[in-house]
Amino acid sequence: MPEPLRLFQPTSIEEAVAVLAELGDDAKVVAGATALTLLYRQRLIAPGALVSIGRIPGLKTIEVVDGELRLGALVSHREVELSPVVRESIPVVADAFGKVANVRVRNAATVGGVMAESDYASDPPAVFVALDAVVDVQGSNGKRSIPASAFFVAFYETALEHDEIVIGVRVPVPPAGTGAVYHKFVTRSSEDRPCVGVAGVVRLHADGTVADLRVAVGAAAETPQRFWDTEALAIGKPLDADLIAQVADAYADQVDTLDDMRGSAWYRTEMVRVWVRRAIESAAAAAAPAR
């Protein structure tokens, strides 16, 4: 029989951080509890204490301030999916959260949770990386902000210190005329985790050349994969089939794909090639509405 768990339910971020600082790795933060319960029941983790942050006020905001969409850590996936604020400012964020698992998981799982868990097969991380989102965290030494691209470190590993909590995610609202999409490719059933998920962001100059192109590939490797050098090659060039194929091939070459029950490494590489191309095509289509 496992040791009895201790349950802490602090009512401020400062209290939660203080408990984490004292207990170290023996304590786990819990919000919606979907990931934690799974990991606990599968005996992948055996914490001595749970620090539930559900009673901390102020972490459920959804707002656009200073050109940024701000999502509090305790906002549920379903709330992101349905939020008019999100749908009007950065619809691809609502779309990606709406594609996670099933409605039950989306009702419970939170924005902070999907970040802190750093599960390679979650949908939102790739979108946040492509959109240059920033993760706000708070620990014993105060607050700091970490770019999403530096936040995910490895399988179930983030840049968080053991006494730090995700308090929110800020996403810069892309300039008008930007197309942004998230393609979730599943190999088993509609509500499965992705085999490959690709977020694409495209903005075009009036002459059809590329002003901005960003691509992040999720679920194919340990962390969302983005290659800035490859993106930079496209800037200023006409976005034609050759250029798109060049970017897709470069991503296929560079992503160190993994094997799991949703696809082999070889298959994933080919799917990266296909879905990066499709993501750029559909982001470009969304960026240049019919005249």
Partner: protein
């Protein structure tokens, strides 16, 4: 009760000699005070402590929907929620749907009339999820219902009859 367990000024929930904490749940309109271990899931507590066997364990990993419980009207997997974290919320299981004289809820009656089940193991989850769907989208189309219910699995494969039931329930709820 053991001595107070305080870390950095925050007191842990008090445990008895068995490592259990005392929680209060609002289940089907009734207040229930029970002793649970903090890792016990809502599904385990509803079934084992409260005798509510409508929520069932299927996959145990949040994929099948057999353990669906409505939390403040929203479907949630009972197998993935520690019961202690369900405090302060209105919980509804299939047992909470019948009327004061034992009459079936219109959605339940629609499932009966259309035989929207075979073995019925998944049925409470489907009915509760349908209830949330029709509260959120009273005019849900068949495709919208299909998408909303995609996370509920029926191993007998009664999906066509289930969707028939939900579409009929939609009309019944409109009166």
């Amino acid at each position: 009760m053991t001595a107070e367990d305080t870390v950095a000024g925050v007191t842990a929930r008090a445990v008895d000699g068995d490592g259990r904490i005392s929680i209060t749940l609002q289940v089907n309109g009734r207040e229930q005070r029970i002793q649970v271990r903090p890792h016990h899931t809502l599904l385990e507590v509803l079934r084992n402590e409260l005798g509510l066997t409508g929520p069932r364990e299927g996959c145990g990993v949040g994929m099948c929907g057999a353990c669906t419980v409505l939390v403040d009207g929203r479907p949630v997997s009972g197998c993935l929620l520690p019961a202690a974290l369900a405090e302060g919320h209105e919980l509804t299981t299939i047992e909470g749907l019948e009327g004061p004289n034992g009459e079936l809820h219109p959605i339940q009656q629609a499932f009966v009339d259309h035989t929207g089940f075979q073995c019925s193991y998944c049925t409470p989850g489907f009915i509760l999820t349908s209830k949330a769907l029709l509260a959120e989208q009273p005019d849900a189309s068949r495709d919208e219902a299909r998408a909303y219910l995609a996370g509920n699995l029926c191993r007998c494969g009664s999906y066509v009859k289930i969707l028939d039931s939900v579409m009929d329930a939609k009309e019944r709820l409109k009166g």
